[in-house]
């Protein structure tokens, strides 16, 4: 990720001092430099602490709902930093009428991917003592990280993207925001810590259809693999996954397509899914979650990133996304649209499932 912190601060300060927004949502330093946390700036001081860097893992879309969601005329607006995946989520909330477009100022940035702290520490545990990130370069085939440790010594690592980036970034569908108000400018000519780091291995900037195709292919081949399994092995595969779920609901809480005031899983009567974790209830929970986002999932991968048990939730989402694409002929099914394939009545609905059933 190129260096956007300076222009982020500048815009945040301007928007706040002009009274245009009440809050700016971006990142701030956490306890661990490798894990910046979502931050909410309400004045100039707080804005000066905002940042965004290659370790900013959490998606920010869902926070917009908390800040201005649900009401017809919110008293104030918010500004939010948005990478491609964040912007998809925000677009989702807007399409679902949970957030009004005019009450959010979207500060777009281009994103080349975010480093997976866990993967990094697994490769070199020394990074856990990081005091300062000195330099990061994310290229097409190589990622480089260099940090200053607590004892002032330096440590660096060079590796393949698949070994260092978040899984969701390896399947990224949009590197640039699909909706934004202001596109932040990267610091002229600088990549984070360029002066000390290696020459970046190629700038991944700009809308890159090739990248998207690659991501789509990656997603599709995983789906195709599971589709190819016999139904018994497929059942076993999913049973193995669902068994591990601890029903923490992190996947739901983080999902921009899960924005209901009262989630069906929290309704006591009727009890759609019981709180027990019997396998049948686990299946029920996961089917419900997947079907509730079918045709609306934006492929942001946040659910999978948030899951503490590492369930392959994107695989399930991607399967449904592929079905929607094929059955309804929807292009870019991950991008929220005016009218959604599963969201209207039409007497000539393709109903491919009905056909399948009747044709056996």
């Amino acid at each position: 990720m190129r260096e956007y912190t300076a222009s982020l601060k500048r815009e945040a300060e301007r928007l706040l001092s002009e009274g245009r927004v009440k809050t700016v949502i971006a990142f701030g330093p956490g306890i661990d430099p490798l894990a910046p946390i979502p931050a909410f700036a309400e004045d100039k001081d707080e804005a000066s602490d905002l940042l965004v860097n290659a370790f900013s893992a959490p998606g920010l879309a869902k926070y917009v709902l908390d800040e201005v969601g649900g009401v017809e005329k919110p008293e104030h607006s918010v500004a939010v930093l948005a990478r491609g995946c964040d912007s998809l989520g925000i677009a989702r909330l807007i399409a679902d009428k949970r957030v009004q477009r005019q009450s959010v100022v979207i500060l777009g940035v281009h994103c080349d991917g975010v480093i997976d702290r866990g993967k990094l520490l697994a490769l070199n545990p020394a990074f856990s003592r990081t005091k300062n990130i000195k330099s990061v370069a994310i290229g097409e085939d190589e990622v480089f990280v260099e940090a200053e440790l607590a004892d002032r010594s330096a440590v660096s690592l060079r590796g393949r993207p698949e070994d260092l980036l978040l899984d969701k970034c390896l399947k990224c569908l949009e590197r640039d925001p699909v909706v934004f108000d202001i596109m932040l400018e990267p610091e002229a000519g600088t990549m984070l810590g360029r002066e000390t780091g290696p020459t970046p291995v190629g700038d991944r900037g700009g809308v890159d259809q090739g990248e998207k195709e690659k991501s789509l292919r990656a997603r599709r081949s995983l789906v195709a693999e599971t589709e190819a399994l016999s139904s018994e092995s497929r059942y076993e595969f999913w049973a193995r996954q669902f068994e591990r779920c601890i029903r923490c609901y992190a996947c739901r809480n983080v999902c921009p397509a899960c924005s209901c005031r009262k989630c069906a899983f929290d309704v006591p009567d009727p009890e759609w899914v019981s709180k027990c974790t019997w396998l049948s209830e686990q299946f029920m929970f996961h089917f419900l979650r997947a079907f509730h986002v079918a045709g609306r999932c934006v492929g942001c991968g946040e659910c999978e990133r948030a899951c503490p048990m590492g369930l392959p939730l994107s695989l399930l989402n991607d399967k449904l996304m592929k079905d929607v694409e094929e059955m309804f002929g929807i292009e870019d099914p991950h991008v929220p649209k005016e009218s959604e394939p599963l969201g209207f009545y039409s007497p000539d609905d393709p109903e491919p499932w009905a056909k399948e059933v009747s044709e056996g």
Binding site: G70, D96, K97, C260, K262, P270, E271, H292, G343, Y345
Partner: protein, 660 residues
């Protein structure tokens, strides 16, 4: 405490032949909440119903399950019985153990009995969660819209208006009467069409309860049964009809002559004027495409001669709004277009005409004043060939249906021709004769026997012009002989087709059409004058080809359906409709486009959050429009949308009773 009664019906042997009804009753007697379980030979009989009523009183039942046949058979019977015994009718449910158990498992009595027990148990669990529901009353506008002013529309309008209902009649043409105004005489009595039609048109014209919008079209319809809002587009006539006194000086003085559509191109009319002398309303229209002034910017003679200054070249189209509670669609038919029948020379050979053209040639007020002359040279034809089923019963031309009236009017045409030209010869090519109707068969026989019309069974293969004659080649399938007739004139009984824009109107009205474009009735046998949309009724050829008597009967039927609707104080709708739990609803409006009946709209509610009041969007269901299909409730992710009588809680209870 829930106190449920279960009543198991034997349905004679229908159920008890397969299912052990005693076992069902005793299994249910032990089910939690069931305080009485009985069986009886025929629950729907008087004693059976009495048994239920008594039990309701005796055991103070809070709910009832009748295990019997399909709810579509006797749900109403039993619910009325429950109501008579003081129980809210919606506290009674039917467990269908006939169609769903005994009839489908005749060979496995044990399994069928087990299934019946499960079905009844699931309904008991459902009924425990039933709520008392009351029918919903929706106010209505007791005013009707009739679209189309042919004989169908006029009949319906007059019936309604005579009964005291206000009617808005919208006619696209400049006059009412429809196709009947073009007919000369009518089968089977051969009385003159205008003699029976003009008293009607005049009555419509002067009826105080009929508001006629001629030269107008329905542009938009919103709302629902009892409460439609209709936008009527009043097309530009370029004459102020309120000022106009109907002197027709303008028509007399207009220098521009054009072929008359009413005369099907066989006569002429002026660029301004009325289509025929008895036209109602008797008010002129300027044909913009023909008018010299609109073409060249010069003329305006009509404006000069009009003594009341009614001509208005700058007239604007107007859209007016009418509120009505019911709509009758009577837009009639069109004849199959000429272009379709090149092989019969139609459209190429002048002396090949269609049925309506023949009507005009035979009409005393027509272009030939009733003398049958052929169009090419005005000679009286000596040999006339009539061809039936042109474009009907013909898959290649797209119409596999029978146009129903052509057999009859062809016999009429041949007869009328023979009456006027007794020494001429009339031939009729036919596939078979369909003359079902009072006095119809006799009518056709008269044509053959008294008037000597020659009927030839077979299809015509070719029609071409040769030396002033129209040569008709065909085969007589009875004798197997090839026939060639050198005729002076050929009359084609072309297919009756829907109005070309019927699908468009269907969309405006949200009603269905068949594959051809005729409007669909709600049920072919039991609901022939209703459409699938409540409050929209059908009459005349717009629904299917038919003759005048049948058209009039259907129109009167539609009118009385409207009367039945309006006979109530307000609209009573079943309470089995969707309802929104506003506390849960996220206002995502996912349900809105899913509703096939456009019954869902967003609404804003004010809510107190802490000390402040905030506005929040939620879905709201229009009780008049909702048909209770349940699509929305399935689509709603958080379960805010629930279908009364089939709530998520009820369905889940049923499922759990069946599965756990």
């Amino acid at each position: 405490m829930k106190r449920i009664g279960v009543f198991v019906c034997w349905c004679g042997f229908n159920i008890s032949g397969t299912i052990d009804v005693k076992a069902v009753a005793s299994a249910l007697a032990d089910h939690p909440g069931v305080v009485v379980a009985k069986d009886y030979k025929y629950m729907c009989s008087e004693p059976g119903q009495a048994m239920i009523k008594e039990a309701i009183a005796e055991h103070r039942l809070s709910g009832v399950v009748v295990a019997a046949c399909s709810p579509s058979m006797h749900e109403t019977t039993f619910r009325e019985a429950a109501q008579a015994a003081g129980l809210n009718p919606y506290m009674l449910e039917i467990a269908n153990i006939r169609e769903h158990a005994s009839w489908v498992h005749p060979d496995d009595k044990i399994a069928a009995t087990r299934k019946a027990i499960d079905l009844v148990k699931s309904l008991v669990e459902k009924v425990k969660r039933n709520e008392a529901l009351e029918p919903i009353h929706v106010p209505m506008t007791k005013r009707a819209l009739v679209i189309g002013g042919g004989i169908a529309g006029m009949q319906a309008a007059l019936d309604l208006a005579d009964g005291g209902t206000e009617v808005v009649l919208v006619e696209r043409d400049s006059h009412i009467g429809g196709h009947m105004a073009q007919l000369s005489e009518t089968f089977p009595t051969l009385d003159c069409a205008s003699c029976i039609l003009t008293p009607r048109t005049a009555e419509v014209g002067r009826h105080p309860l009929i508001k006629l919008h001629a030269y107008s079209e329905v542009a938009e319809v919103s709302g629902y049964v009892g409460n439609f809002t209709v936008k009527v587009r009043k097309k530009r006539t370029y004459v102020d009809w309120d000022k106009c006194i109907g002197c027709m000086d303008c028509m007399a003085k207009c220098p521009k002559k054009i072929p008359s559509q009413f005369e099907r191109g066989l006569g002429i009319r002026k660029a301004i004027g009325v289509a025929f002398p008895q036209a109602i309303p008797y008010r002129p229209v300027i044909d913009r495409d023909a008018c010299t002034y609109f073409k060249t910017g010069k003329c305006r003679i009509c404006e000069r001669v009009c003594s009341v200054g009614a001509i208005d070249f700058d007239q604007e189209e107007r859209v007016i709004e009418e509120k009505v509670g019911a709509i009758i669609v009577a837009t009639g038919y069109d004849l199959a277009p000429k272009a379709k029948f090149g092989e019969y020379g139609y459209g190429k050979i002048k002396d090949v005409v269609d049925g309506l053209e023949f009507e005009r040639l035979n009409s005393s007020s027509g272009p030939t004043e009733g003398v049958i002359k052929r169009p090419s040279d005005g000679k009286i034809p000596r040999e006339v060939v009539f061809i039936q089923c042109v474009g009907s019963r013909d898959v290649d031309k797209g119409n596999s249906y029978c146009s129903k009236i052509c057999c009859m009017y062809t016999a009429k045409h041949a007869m009328l021709y023979k009456h006027k030209v007794p020494d001429g010869q009339a031939y009729v090519f036919y596939m078979d004769i369909r003359a079902g109707g009072k006095g119809y068969e006799e009518f056709v026989q008269r044509a053959v026997e008294q008037d000597g019309v020659l009927y030839l069974r077979g299809r015509v293969s070719k029609v071409y012009e040769d030396d002033g004659k129209v040569i008709v080649r065909g085969q007589d399938t009875l004798s197997g002989e090839n026939i060639e007739i050198a005729a002076d004139m050929v009359v084609l009984a072309t297919a009756i087709e829907p109005q070309r824009d019927s699908r468009n109107l269907a969309q405006i009205l949200k009603i269905g059409t068949d594959q051809y474009g005729f409007f669909n009735e709600a049920h072919p046998k039991l609901r022939p004058v209703e459409s699938m949309t409540r409050g929209v009724f059908l009459a005349g050829c717009a629904q299917a080809p038919k003759d005048i008597p049948e058209t009039v009967a259907q129109a009167s039927g539609a009118a009385s359906k409207v009367d039945v609707l309006f006979s109530k104080d307000d609209l009573v709708v079943e309470p089995l409709i969707a309802s929104v739990d506003e506390a849960i609803c996220s206002g995502c409006m996912w349900c809105e486009p899913i509703c096939p009946y456009h019954a869902i709209e967003p609404k804003t509610i004010e809510e107190r959050v802490g000390k402040k009041s905030v506005a929040r969007r939620v879905a709201s269901v229009n009780a008049g429009l909702c048909q209770g299909c349940g699509a929305c409730s399935v689509a709603c992710r958080d379960g805010a949308m629930n279908l009364k009588g089939y709530t998520n809680q009820q369905i889940m209870a049923e499922v759990e009773a069946l599965c756990l």
